[in-house]
Symmetry: C2
Subunit: 372 residues, 2 copies
Amino acid sequence: MRKATTTIADVARKANVSTATAGRVLGNYGYASETVRKKVQKAARELGYRPNHLARSLIRGETRTIGVVVGDIQSPFYARIIRGISDVARASDMGLIITNSDEATDLEEQSVELLMDKKVDGMIVSPCDTINAAHLRAAHEAGIPMVLIDRRVKGLEVDSISLDSVGSARAGVGDLLRAGHRRIALVAELAGTGGMTIERIMSSSPPGPPDINYHYPSWQRLLGYLLAHHDAGIAPQSDLICQVKSYSSKVAAKKAVEILRSDTPPTALFTADGVMSAGVMAAVKEVGARIPDDISLLCFDDLDWMEFMVPGIDAISQPRKQMGQMAARLLMERIADPTSEPRVLDLVPRHVERGSIRQILTTEGVNGGPDA
Amino acid sequence: MRKATTTIADVARKANVSTATAGRVLGNYGYASETVRKKVQKAARELGYRPNHLARSLIRGETRTIGVVVGDIQSPFYARIIRGISDVARASDMGLIITNSDEATDLEEQSVELLMDKKVDGMIVSPCDTINAAHLRAAHEAGIPMVLIDRRVKGLEVDSISLDSVGSARAGVGDLLRAGHRRIALVAELAGTGGMTIERIMSSSPPGPPDINYHYPSWQRLLGYLLAHHDAGIAPQSDLICQVKSYSSKVAAKKAVEILRSDTPPTALFTADGVMSAGVMAAVKEVGARIPDDISLLCFDDLDWMEFMVPGIDAISQPRKQMGQMAARLLMERIADPTSEPRVLDLVPRHVERGSIRQILTTEGVNGGPDA
DNA sequence: CTGAAAGCGCTTACAG
DNA sequence: CTGAAAGCGCTTACAG
């Protein structure tokens, strides 16, 4: 069934030239006169010649393929990143191998191994552990061009692109505070890894351990939340910080309902990601609160059709696809120039106001403020 | 920076054997005595030998890589399919190259070309055109193992796996009819391609052109809808068939609002996919209808957290991840045995009842029925 | 500009 | 069981 494949030798024979010459015109390298070029191309066309990239790669030491390892391609977060990467790869006429790590170090190791076996020209990885990553260090030592996306690894000096989670959470919560909100609840995963605790992060003034970049995004967003309070000279209250601990909408919903039904409920909610947002929206619905009259909602997420269903939410929009595109471009540049200084990029998400941040007039504002 | 890679020749030298012998133990083929085996393995370990799969592939004519072309990896539908494929690929220790077609024939062609250049051992494609697919036919002729997912191509006899859209829509709408509903609206894309029209599909009795398998899923679901009515001896009303024409939640919402506000609104809504479902739910919300008291909702979709936000919806759940897994298994089997008969699989989705189908008592039921 | 030869890193007959 | 040789399909110096 499978047609015997026609090789450069076949073309050369038919065109009455050497394989070297045929190779030069077909591979587009070296010199070749117009006449020979024509002859060879004609022969190639007639024989339906297609170059064998495997042989070419073996010699040239490049496969024109890049590898990606993400947590789970099923998640919209990663799916979009991959779309961005895929677009740039296609434009550069490169292949794209993807693998999932399920956020587990051993699977991530396997993935990196697979990619190295496939001799990818470079890889983009979203590392699942920001500290233990011997396999990534090894790959880097071995000279594989690498760019980290969404998270960084302590002491691994490679190109990386992340979101400025701290800065954008700080700005968003700052907006809420400026609108007069004084009881802003934070709903975030804040899983206890790497020795980080809420106490530890709140204990310094201004808040902020120096290694925050190596902790999970939800901790970074908590830090932004605390810094915004610090900026405004307002003491954050720990009873408003909802540590969900698991990455689950249902658990987030449960916790959010509790806080909404407390004696002193918040006037605004800030969620650290899309999963928390879904939970919080279900909770708001359950307690029958109206947005934004009863409560303002600021979500660190794109929302998409979530917003379509529940209008009036504010969002800190994460440009996931662009992140993928930028990561891929960084990688292409790194492949072209392996020695230049690593670049560390921090994207500032776009804060999309949709009118959820309702102005709360303080007594001061009502009696003596400029707008009174 | 990049370490000089150690080859079989290096290992052979260090172990004092021929490259052929070293190759046999390292590649795990042919015979080798225990002593030699040990010696070679020791040398390989000490030198940190890693086989070069490129060279191996060149000779063996297999890359242990499969390719996938889907419409858009960003869409949850495809992302899950790919996850399923990816799981099987990993279990078989194969790589996975993905490409997007954006549902355009020329991009699909490019994708297939890329995959063939990469010499994949087989490909899974979700064809964007069920008739024009010369590139797929060519790839099949060339002997590339191929399985089609979600859609089939007329006259291309390869393995395929799809959903039994007609059957499951028929069953689901049948449930609505048995519950007493008589005005069931259908909201579906029903884009006009391949000469299909609502008139054409409704004109025969029982409804159903013989080539329905080669039309887009929304047409298949319309057919199921019509067949259910036919089964129940009820004439479908064309004013209840909402042809959205574009794959857009917003447009679907607009159309659904119109139908919900008509003089004779439906008592139940059946949506043909997730995008339509989102639109319909927004519409239900906009007109202030309650589910299921005012209206029953049956969605051809997984719903996921949509259901989490709007409880009480019925769903026809599509096992996308399993579809991916099954497609990958079909492909593995096809690679192992290229000549056996192609298999055509139709998955029957699971109908998940969550209580949205409210019983509507007909006059007959109230006065004379067994439960009266 | 063109060709003969060597080589990329493996595997595969073929002798022994 | 082991080795010398040829070969997968290209590209790369090296002569001419």
